[in-house]
């Protein structure tokens, strides 16, 4: 039986009727059209579907939409204002923190949660903070480089979002 769920997605309040078994990731992709959140595995391991629920990183494939009642969800699309890029997005671009790019939204969302709690992580802390995300191109060296660069940019206040296409 469908349930009513009230939540905010990237700042937009929504009231939706959903089946209890609808996973949050499918709600975001199919109901909200936010396909930046990826489904990379069937076993809650890869982290490609990571979003923020009230600021906490969560694998959206391992949460029911009905459990997001009253929560504010942030996806990769909501990290920066439309047309702009978050410093993490800029850093992943500039440091080439991706190869195929499939895992990138999840890495960026997990990294944003890490940096919110620890603005200047050591390399080990950075690795631990991203342990829930897998990159099968094995591009971890540049991913680490990108997150360190973003952390530095944010700390130094040069974190003004960059205009896309500039």
């Amino acid at each position: 039986m469908a349930q009513t769920v009230r939540l905010a997605v990237n700042g937009v309040a929504r009231v939706e009727e959903v089946e209890p078994r609808l996973l949050l990731v499918h709600f975001l992709r199919e109901r909200c059209g936010l396909t930046g959140t990826h489904v990379g595995c069937d076993t809650s391991q890869c982290g490609a579907c990571t979003v923020l629920c009230d600021g906490a990183p969560v694998k959206s494939c391992t949460m029911l939409t009905v459990q997001a009642e009253g929560m504010a969800i942030t996806t990769i699309e909501g990290l920066a204002p439309p047309g702009e890029m978050h410093p993490l997005q800029t850093a992943f671009w500039e440091s080439h923190g991706l190869q195929c790019g499939f895992c990138t939204p999840g890495f960026i969302m997990a990294a944003s949660a890490l940096l919110a709690e620890n603005p200047d992580p050591t390399d080990e802390e950075l690795g631990r903070g991203l342990e829930g995300n897998l990159c099968r191109c094995t591009g971890y060296v540049n991913i680490r480089r990108a997150v360190h660069a973003a952390a530095k940019a944010i700390r130094e206040g040069s974190a003004a979002p960059t205009a896309v296409g500039g």
């Binding site: 078994r21 069937d42 906490a56 391992t62 631990r128």
Partner: protein, 268 residues
Amino acid sequence: MIPAAFGYSRATSVADAVAQLGSAGPDSKLIAGGQSLLPMMRLRLAQPEHLIDVNGLRELDYITPKDGRLLVGAMTRHATLVRSEVVRRHLPLLSEIASEVGDPQVRSRGTIGGVMAHADAAGDYPTLALMMDATIVTDRRRIPARDFFQHLFTTSLAPDELVCEVDFPVATGAHRYLKFRRRLFDWAIVGVGVQMSDDGWRVGITHAGPTAVRAHAVESALRSGANPKEAAEHATDGLHPTSDVHASSEYRLHLAEVLTRRALEQAA
């Protein structure tokens, strides 16, 4: 994959959760953090007909030191335990173990009560509960950890019983939890916890059998003056680990001994 269809309701109080469990029938289940249950439902290893969501029971989200005990509400999430200054001050081994559960995303959602009730052989908190003689407090009784974990995924909980709290003794002495795994976020292939307490070392072993075990033989060897290496030779006493895709039984026995020695040597 998408889970099989199920009914869903939210519990509004502990009494309501128990009443709903009683009336919803044997194929209903509680869902807390869901970090084990939902993956099992997605793989259709579990197909509950009805889920009763206890995430709204914020009254079960607390960390309270009281008379030499540390009382942890069942709905306390791993991330809360990791960040808690109170836990670091009263039972730092719990902080250390919480930080080793899953990954940051899992720790955002998963709860200590859920881990206890799920009773996975590779769960980390059951080891701590057993070695420290913790008590699992439910809606109706207090169950010593040694009576709570009965077998793989099997506890002494009644079908309509709800875990409300884990009651640990305070312990601030030397401690260490070592978890051997292939990737950081994996379950332990084998884990070992050690804690110096008022009556000497407490030692627990994760995933070397259907439930965690307290390594009494190691503890008594240490009380008799054995060094870590000698004491660790007793780590495999009474263990009967199974072989699986991750490790053979022999390898698990080897790990139990090596990790016990290392944990004792590294405890601080």
